[in-house]
Amino acid sequence: MHIYFYGPPTGKRDAQRAYRLIMDQLRQTDAYVSTNTEDEAIQVSAEVAADSRESSVPLLERMDSFIIEGSTSDPNVGFLLAHAIAQKKPTLYLYQRGTVPLIFAHLSRRELPAHIRVVAYQESALHREVVSFLSTIEGMKIRPVPRIKFTLRITEAIEEYLHFKTHNTKLSKADFLRQRIEEAMERDDEWQDYQRRRRRE
């Protein structure tokens, strides 16, 4: 999954804070995230990079989804939005509440296709808007931030095993355990059926 986030270059602190909030949220996903907001960081899979080089298809056309901060008039905003519409890619178009993006002078909200979600945001609710959008994208996995403290006493053998699996890796023992539990949840048919029934209710 590849996401591109565009925020027009700005010196305004509120805009820069918004960009950081959006990037923090995007880093919680398992997607390759590219952006112009942080020294133009480009992150794509090796396969996409190689394919783009060989076929000369722009990386832009390899993105699966876009997030555009379009509060200000910027030529690239229109360009990216046009591509998102043409490629039918799920797109979140954000603008600060109280502003009227120039884009709506040329294309009304009603004319925008359903896969373009337009949201007027306030900074306090920005991360929820981003999470809400990301959760609609098929194949997107968002890693919720662990917030519940859970104390677990373990045996020496388990401790030794955890050390063996995480030593000299970037993974902490806690992260390793969380991953194993999440995998078990994915494989547990009974749990998955239960979740499906709950969602229907």
Binding site: N36, E61, P75, L81, A82, I85
Partner: protein, 327 residues
């Protein structure tokens, strides 16, 4: 007061956006233009766009169509901020070169591009294209890229193929070549935006001067050792120029020069197409033309003769066009 950018899209084939034929998926006549623009409504985000159909694209697009395009641009130059030529891929590289010469003094962008898809009608008509161009061209996305270049700070003829923006006259020489990160003749690239390398001629206010005249009464011949060139040059009606290809390099030149000095040929403006500049002196009426593509060289000669209109200025006109890769 904010003024929206206005672009003109001129169609000559190469417009197909979908494999399934639907109203607006291709432009083969004037009535197809509005449905096509409605189907690509996302272009409205970039600029206000008007369209005109120059050719159906169901037959090879060539000199008459290119002259029609420049005439249209000349008539409407002040009304638009930029022009996009949607062009059949088969002759797109030639078009990009020819338009560069005909619109030498242009101060606005003229962006040539074309779709890799073919409509059913185009397939039935036998329209084909260079496989490299087909592989590297986009369809719908390419038109967005071209529109974005046409609103940018470019003041010359450019071609957009895939993710690369070429100087119009350079495309023919760079097709199929691996590109360096910084490459003469490459004006920029498309990745997450249009990135111009800084080589481009920028927009500037100037009165457009169109130079559309080509002298097509030219004999083209390939020199074969032992075959008398004069037998290929008719007496009546007399040609206005002679274009000779000489494979074999310097080895054939002494004999060839002897032939070019024969009375009937000596008075003819002559272009000698070689793979590289020769080391020996040539007669005064002969100018060497080089380049990867012979068709471009022929057209270049015809254009130069057209500028001189029978006078001597054809050599100056010919030398004034360097290919984009050489500038």
């Amino acid at each position: 007061m904010f003024r929206r950018t206005r672009l003109a899209f001129l169609f000559a084939g190469g417009s197909t956006t979908e494999s399934v034929p639907r109203p607006g998926s291709s432009v083969h006549g004037p009535r197809d233009v509005e449905p096509w623009l409605r189907r690509l409504a996302e272009l409205d985000i970039i600029a206000d766009i008007d369209g005109a159909c120059i050719a159906s694209g169901l037959a090879p697009v060539g000199l008459p169509e290119w002259q029609a395009m420049t005439a249209w641009i000349d008539r409407h130059y002040d009304a638009y901020d930029g022009f996009v030529i949607v062009h059949q891929l088969a002759t797109l590289p030639l078009a990009a070169s020819v338009l560069t010469w005909m619109l030498t003094d242009i101060g606005k962008p003229v962006v040539v591009t074309g779709s890799s898809l073919l409509s059913r009608r185009e397939k039935r008509a036998g329209v084909q294209a260079d496989p490299w161009l087909v592989q590297h061209s986009s369809d719908r996305a390419g038109f967005i890229n071209a529109a974005q270049v046409a609103v940018s700070d470019v003041g010359e003829v450019a071609a957009v193929v895939g993710n690369t923006i070429y100087r119009g006259s350079a495309l023919i020489d760079l097709i199929g070549q691996p590109l360096e990160p910084i490459q003469r003749g490459v004006l920029g690239r498309v990745d997450f935006g249009i990135r111009l390398a800084g080589q481009q001629l920028r927009r500037r206010r100037r009165a457009l001067r169109v130079r559309p005249i080509f002298e097509t009464n030219v004999i083209t011949a390939e020199y074969i050792p032992g075959v008398d060139l004069t037998s290929m040059v008719p007496i009546e009606p007399g040609p206005r120029g002679l274009f000779v290809s000489a494979p074999g390099g310097d080895m054939n030149l002494p004999t060839l020069i002897g032939q070019l000095n024969q009375p009937r040929i000596k008075s003819l403006p002559t272009a000698l197409y070689l793979t590289r500049r020769p080391s020996i002196a040539l007669p005064a009426h002969v100018v060497v033309v080089t380049g990867r593509d012979r068709s471009v060289a022929v057209l270049k000669f015809m254009w130069a003769l057209g500028q001189a209109r029978g006078g001597r200025g054809w050599k100056t006109a010919l030398r004034s066009i360097a290919t984009g890769a050489e500038t």
